[in-house]
C-alpha cells in the first residue's frame, strides 16, 4: 500500500507531465501539437526543479513573511525555474514564428509531408536525382503543388 504523501503525488505529477509531453512529441506529427507537447513537458520539468527545493511544512521564501526561524523552502530552485520558464517561453515563441514561416512556405504543418518537401528541395538544389530505388524506377510520384495539399499519399515506399 503506497503512502500517498503530498511529495509523492507532486513528483508523480511532474514526471507524468514530462512523460505525457514526451509521448506527445513522439506520437504526434502535427508541428503545433508537437510544440504544445513540448510546452507540457517543459512545465513538468520546471515542476520537478521546484520540487527539488520543497521542504515539508515550510513557508514561502520571502523575507519577513513568517516569524524568524520558521523553515523556508529552498529559494534557489525557484530562481532557477524562473529562468527556465522564461527560456522556455522564448523558445516557444521562436518556434511559433518558424511554424508560421513553414506554413507560408509549404502550406502544411504535417511533419511527414514537410520532411518529404525538405528532402526534395535539398535534392533539387544540389542537382541530385531523388529516387534510385528499384521499387520506384520511374521516380517518386511528385507531391501536389502547394498549398492545395491532399494527404492521400501511400505510407509505404518511403526510403
Amino acid at each position: 500500500m503506497m503512502s500517498l504523501s503530498l511529495e509523492a503525488i507532486l513528483y508523480t505529477g511532474a514526471i507524468g507531465l514530462v512523460v505525457i509531453g514526451a509521448l506527445g512529441l513522439v506520437l504526434s506529427h502535427h508541428l503545433f501539437r508537437m510544440l504544445l507537447s513540448l510546452a507540457v513537458a517543459e512545465a513538468g520539468g520546471n515542476l520537478l526543479v521546484v520540487l527539488a527545493g520543497y521542504r515539508g511544512g515550510a513557508i514561502a521564501p520571502i523575507l519577513g513573511y513568517g516569524a524568524p526561524g520558521t523553515p523556508m523552502v529552498d529559494p534557489i530552485p525557484q530562481a532557477l525555474v524562473l529562468t527556465a520558464i522564461v527560456i522556455g517561453v522564448g523558445v516557444q515563441a521562436l518556434a511559433v514564428a518558424v511554424l508560421v514561416r513553414v506554413y507560408r512556405a509549404y502550406g502544411t504543418l504535417d511533419l511527414r509531408d514537410l520532411v518529404e518537401h525538405m528532402q526534395g528541395d535539398i535534392a533539387k538544389a544540389a542537382g541530385i536525382p531523388r529516387s534510385t530505388s528499384t521499387h520506384a524506377p520511374g521516380g517518386e510520384r511528385p507531391l501536389p503543388p502547394v498549398p492545395a495539399l491532399v494527404r492521400h499519399q501511400p505510407r509505404g515506399g518511403r526510403s
Binding site: 514526451a22 513522439v26 506529427h29 511533419l111 511527414r112 520532411v115 528532402q119 526510403s159
Partner: protein
C-alpha cells in the same frame, strides 16, 4: 653527417628537382643521373658487409622516438629499389616521355611520382622502430597511389580499389602496433622483440593476423590480391615496370623484419592451429603456395600483355615468401635471391611490352603477331625475360627457383614442392603464350612497317637482359649479398661460390651448367650449319593446308583462346570466389550504410532519443 643522412638527402633532392624542374625536357636525364647518385650514396653507407649505420636525426613525438638506420636488409632492398628507379627513369627519358606528352599526360607528374616512390621506399627501408616503419609504410602507399592514378579513367578506378585495400591493411597494422605497445611498453624494435616471446599463443595469432594481413595486402598474397593486377597494369609505362619490380616487395620487407626476424620461423613452427596437425608456418607456406598457383593460372587467361605480367607478379611474390618461410639456408636464400632476380626480370619484360605498345599502339595479344621480324632486339629481351621468369637455365630465375625447390625437398614438404612445380608449369605455359602471340607466328598487315624500338628504350632493356644473364651465369655476387642479409636477420647462411650454391649433398654450379649449355648449342650449331646439308629457306607465308594454298593477303595467327584444351579442364574451377568475397564485403558495408541513413532520415527521430533515454535510465538503475 652519417652516410645514411647523405642517402636521404640525395633522395630528397631528387624529389625536389622533379617537383621544381619536372616540366623541362632535360630534367629527365638529370633525374637519371640523380638516381645513379642515390645508388652511389647507398654503396657509400657500406652497411652490407659492415655494421648498421644510424641516421643522425630523430624525432620524438608524444614520448615515442622515431629514428632511422640502414642495415644489410635495408641495403639489399634499397639497392633493388634505386636500381629499378634508375632503369625506369632511363627508359622514360627520351622517346617515351614525348609520346606520353602527345597522349595528353603530364610528364612532370610522372617524374614527381617516381621520385616520390623511390624516396618513400628509401625512408621506409631505413626505419628503426615501428613508428617510423608505419610512417614509411604510409608514405610508400600514398606514393604508389599517386603513380597508379596517373593514367586515365580505368587507372583511377583501379587506384581507388588499391587505396581501399592498402588503407585497410594500414589500419590493421596500426591496431597491431597499439596492441604491441600495450604489451611491450615501447615501439622500438628491441623492446618489442623482447616482448614477443612472452606472448601467449592467442595473442600471437591476433598479432600475426593483423600484421600479416596488413603486410599481405601490399604484397598481394591471397586473398588480398585482387587489387594488384589492374592497378599495376593500368599504370603508364615505366611506372608499371617500377611497381611490378619492387613495390609489392615492401610488404615482404616488413614481413621479414617482423615475422621472420622478430617472431622467428621456429616460433611459427611451434604455433599450432588447434584441432589440426598444421602449424603457423604451414599456414603461411600454403597461403604462399596458393598465391603461386591461382594467380598464375589467371594470368594464363589474360589477353592483355600487361595484365598477364601483372598477374605473374602476384604469383612470384608467393615464391619469395615460400622460400623464406621454409627457413633453412638454401630456401631462405632462394626466396631473397628471387626478389632480386624477379625485379630484373619483371622490369625487362614490362619494358619490352611497353616498347611493343609504343610501336604498335596495342597491348592486346589477339591483335599482335610475328613481330620478331621487325623488332628482333626487343624479342631477345623478352626471350631472356621469359626464360628467367619460367625458371629455366641459363637465366637468373633458374637459380633462385632451384634453391626454393631444393629446400622444399630437403625439408620434407613434398606437397608444397608439387604446388611450386604446378606454378612453374603455369608460368611456362603463360609466358610461351606471351612471346608467341607478340613475336612469333605471322606478321600482321598493319605491322609490316613497324620499326625496332627506339634507342632510348632499347638500351636500358638490353642492359637489364645482360644483367639477367650475368646473374644467372655467375650468381655468386648476388648470393654474397643474400648471405649478409641472412646473417642479419638470423637465418642460417647459405654457402656460396662464384657459380652458385655449395652443398655437400649436391650444390649448383651455374658456370659449369651454362658452359655445358653453350657448348651444346655450339655443337648443335656446328652440326646444323656445317654438316647438315643444304637447307632451303621458305617464306613464312608460303603455306599449304588441307589441299588449298593459302594466299598472302590473309594472315593466320593462332592467338585467341590459346590454351583452349587446358581452359576446358580448369576453367570451371575459376568461379571468381575471391571476387565474390570482395563484393560481399562491399555489399555488407552498403547495407549497413543504408540502414544508418534510414535512421538519420526518419520522420520521428525523437523515437530513438526516447528509446535511448529509457534504456540508459534502466541501465543506470541496474
Amino acid at each position: 653527417m652519417t652516410p645514411v643522412d647523405s642517402l636521404f638527402l640525395v633522395s630528397g633532392l631528387t624529389l625536389v628537382v622533379a617537383l621544381l624542374f619536372g616540366r623541362q625536357r632535360l630534367t629527365a636525364s638529370l633525374l637519371v643521373a640523380l638516381y645513379g647518385a642515390q645508388f652511389a650514396a647507398l654503396v657509400q653507407t657500406g652497411t652490407l658487409f659492415g655494421d648498421p649505420v644510424t641516421a643522425s636525426f630523430g624525432v620524438t613525438v608524444l614520448d615515442q622516438p622515431m629514428h632511422w638506420r640502414y642495415d644489410a636488409l635495408s641495403w639489399f632492398f634499397a639497392m633493388i629499389t634505386i636500381g629499378a628507379g634508375f632503369f625506369c627513369a632511363w627508359y622514360a627519358a627520351g622517346v617515351w616521355q614525348e609520346a606520353h606528352v602527345k597522349r595528353g599526360h603530364s610528364p612532370w607528374l610522372f617524374h614527381v611520382a617516381l621520385a616520390a616512390n623511390v624516396f618513400a621506399m628509401v625512408v621506409l627501408l631505413g626505419s628503426g622502430d615501428f613508428l617510423s616503419l608505419f610512417l614509411g609504410w604510409e608514405l610508400v602507399s600514398w606514393a604508389s597511389f599517386l603513380l597508379m592514378a596517373l593514367g586515365g579513367r580505368a587507372s583511377g578506378r583501379a587506384a581507388l580499389r588499391y587505396l581501399t585495400y592498402a588503407f585497410s591493411g594500414a589500419m590493421a597494422i596500426l591496431g597491431a602496433m597499439a596492441l604491441l605497445y600495450t604489451q611491450a611498453g615501447s615501439l622500438e624494435y628491441a623492446q618489442v622483440g623482447a616482448a614477443i616471446p612472452k606472448l601467449s599463443a592467442g595473442q600471437l595469432w591476433v598479432l600475426l593476423a593483423l600484421l600479416g594481413g596488413g603486410f599481405a595486402v601490399k604484397m598481394g598474397l591471397l586473398p588480398f590480391h585482387l587489387w594488384q593486377a589492374p592497378a599495376y597494369a593500368e599504370t603508364p609505362g615505366p611506372g608499371s615496370a617500377f611497381l611490378g619490380a619492387i613495390s609489392a616487395r615492401m610488404g615482404l620487407y616488413a614481413i621479414i623484419v617482423v615475422i621472420v626476424s622478430m617472431v622467428g620461423v621456429a616460433r611459427l613452427v611451434d604455433l599450432s592451429i588447434p584441432f589440426t596437425f598444421l602449424s603457423g608456418r604451414d599456414l603461411i607456406a600454403w597461403i604462399a603456395a596458393l598465391t603461386v598457383i591461382l594467380p598464375t593460372y589467371t594470368a594464363l587467361q589474360q589477353h592483355d600483355a600487361r595484365y598477364l605480367l601483372a598477374w605473374h607478379g602476384i604469383g612470384q611474390g608467393g615464391y619469395m615468401l615460400l622460400g623464406l618461410v621454409v627457413g633453412n639456408a638454401v630456401g631462405s636464400a632462394g626466396g631473397l635471391l628471387h626478389i632480386f632476380n624477379y625485379a630484373l626480370t619483371q622490369a625487362a619484360l614490362l619494358m619490352a611490352v611497353f616498347a611493343v605498345v609504343h610501336r604498335t599502339g596495342t597491348a592486346d595479344l589477339n591483335k599482335l603477331g610475328g613481330l620478331v621480324a621487325r623488332m628482333p632486339l626487343t624479342f631477345l629481351v623478352l626471350l631472356f625475360g621469359i626464360i628467367s621468369l619460367a625458371g629455366l637455365p641459363p637465366m637468373a630465375g633458374f637459380v633462385s627457383k632451384w634453391m626454393i625447390y631444393r629446400s622444399l625437398i630437403t625439408e620434407g614438404m613434398p606437397l608444397l614442392f608439387v604446388a611450386a612445380i604446378v606454378g612453374t608449369l603455369g608460368t611456362i605455359l603463360s609466358v610461351y603464350k606471351l612471346i608467341h602471340n607478340i613475336f612469333l607466328g605471322q606478321l600482321r598487315l598493319e605491322h609490316e612497317k613497324v620499326p625496332e624500338a627506339p634507342l632510348s628504350m632499347l638500351i636500358p632493356m638490353l642492359a637489364l637482359s645482360t644483367l639477367i644473364f650475368l646473374a644467372g651465369f655467375m650468381p655468386g655476387p648476388a648470393l654474397s649479398w643474400v648471405a649478409e642479409v641472412q646473417r642479419l636477420v638470423g637465418l642460417p647462411q647459405v654457402q656460396y661460390s662464384l657459380g652458385g650454391v655449395v652443398d655437400p649433398r649436391g650444390g649448383l654450379d651455374m658456370i659449369w651448367l651454362v658452359s655445358i649449355l653453350l657448348a651444346g648449342f655450339g655443337v648443335g650449331a656446328v652440326v646444323f650449319y656445317g654438316f647438315g646439308g643444304k637447307s632451303q629457306q621458305v617464306h613464312q607465308l608460303n603455306n599449304y593446308a588441307g589441299g588449298h594454298f593459302l594466299t598472302a593477303d590473309v594472315r593466320y595467327q593462332y592467338s585467341d583462346n590459346f590454351y583452349a584444351g587446358l581452359m576446358h579442364l580448369i576453367g570451371p574451377w575459376y568461379r571468381g570466389a575471391f571476387r565474390w568475397i570482395e563484393d560481399g564485403v562491399g555489399g555488407v558495408v552498403d547495407l549497413l550504410s543504408y540502414a544508418m541513413n534510414w535512421v538519420y532520415r526518419s520522420v520521428q527521430p525523437l523515437v530513438f532519443l526516447l528509446a535511448t533515454t529509457v534504456a540508459m535510465l534502466v541501465w543506470a538503475a541496474v
